[in-house]
Assembly symmetry: C2
Homo-oligomer: 165 residues x 2
């Protein structure tokens, strides 16, 4: 890799801007919301393949990462949400989802430009640069949502188009 690219990027040519990154994340979250909605309520909480978690639990993992994650990224204070109970209805999960959407929009402008390349210990456990922790939050969501697509297909349903955000 040529360092030239990296140096040039710092003097006027962002590869990805802060705004690009939050729009990218929220675009993925809009799609995941549609996947939660696509599940019949019973199957959202009960259907699984190969001993994996039902999609309600996968969606809760995303919420338990994103909700304290955006606060940690913006403030350096990492909460643990492991004991947050799973709502008993699809509507309850969607309400939590929407609260996290608002929280991301509220905290994002507090992230200083230099913060993205700082190293921090996310959730007190995962040492990484902030941009890499954010990539992890997003990638983990894409990974588990892709699993939800298989659940929907196995149930004979058509998932929402991957490219629509």
């Amino acid at each position: 890799m040529e360092n030239k690219n990296v140096e040039n990027a710092t003097i006027g040519h962002p590869v990805v801007t802060s705004e690009d990154l939050v729009n990218h994340w929220q675009g993925h979250r809009r799609l995941t919301r549609r996947v939660i909605e696509a599940f019949p309520e019973k199957e959202l909480f009960e259907f699984s393949i190969g001993g994996m978690r039902p999609f309600a639990e996968l969606a809760m993992e995303m919420i338990k990462i994103a909700r304290p994650g955006i606060v940690g990224v913006a403030t350096g204070k990492w909460d643990n949400m492991d004991d947050m109970p799973t709502p008993k209805t699809r509507e309850g999960i969607l309400e939590l989802w929407d609260k996290v959407t608002e929280q991301i929009d509220a905290f994002w402008p507090q992230i200083s430009p230099e913060r993205f390349q700082e190293t921090d210990v996310a959730f007190g456990q995962y040492e990484n640069q902030i941009y890499a922790s954010l990539f992890y939050f997003i990638d983990n969501e894409i990974h588990h949502r892709g699993q939800g697509y298989v659940y929907l297909r196995a149930l004979g349903m058509t998932p929402p188009p991957f490219w629509e955000r």
Copy 2:
């Protein structure tokens, strides 16, 4: 969103550098390679759930995006690889995979810093900024690889850890 962040990012604080992005992509590609290797050969080509494609075809989609994709990103010339035949063995797919890995490393340094925010029509069809097309290549791989994880679990096998790159 505050424009301040975006402007500051352009005067000395990259959110993500060019090197970050290629390392991120190649890290995901190393994991996907391990998922291809994890499938028994027969199941790689034949196993599916809910009418979806076997993992060999999902891996070929990733190859058919990444191989012409990196050339298009670097040069602006977009080839179509739709007619590339699927190799008949796992080893054949892995050989193609490794060629793409080398190709990404070879072409990446040719991507100019200003290129990432340019708009281009990827594969002559998808108009987007270059960083967004690159995100799409990576996200599509994560999405389909997550589906491969379900196939492996349904086959009673343990997939490689998601967080290892």
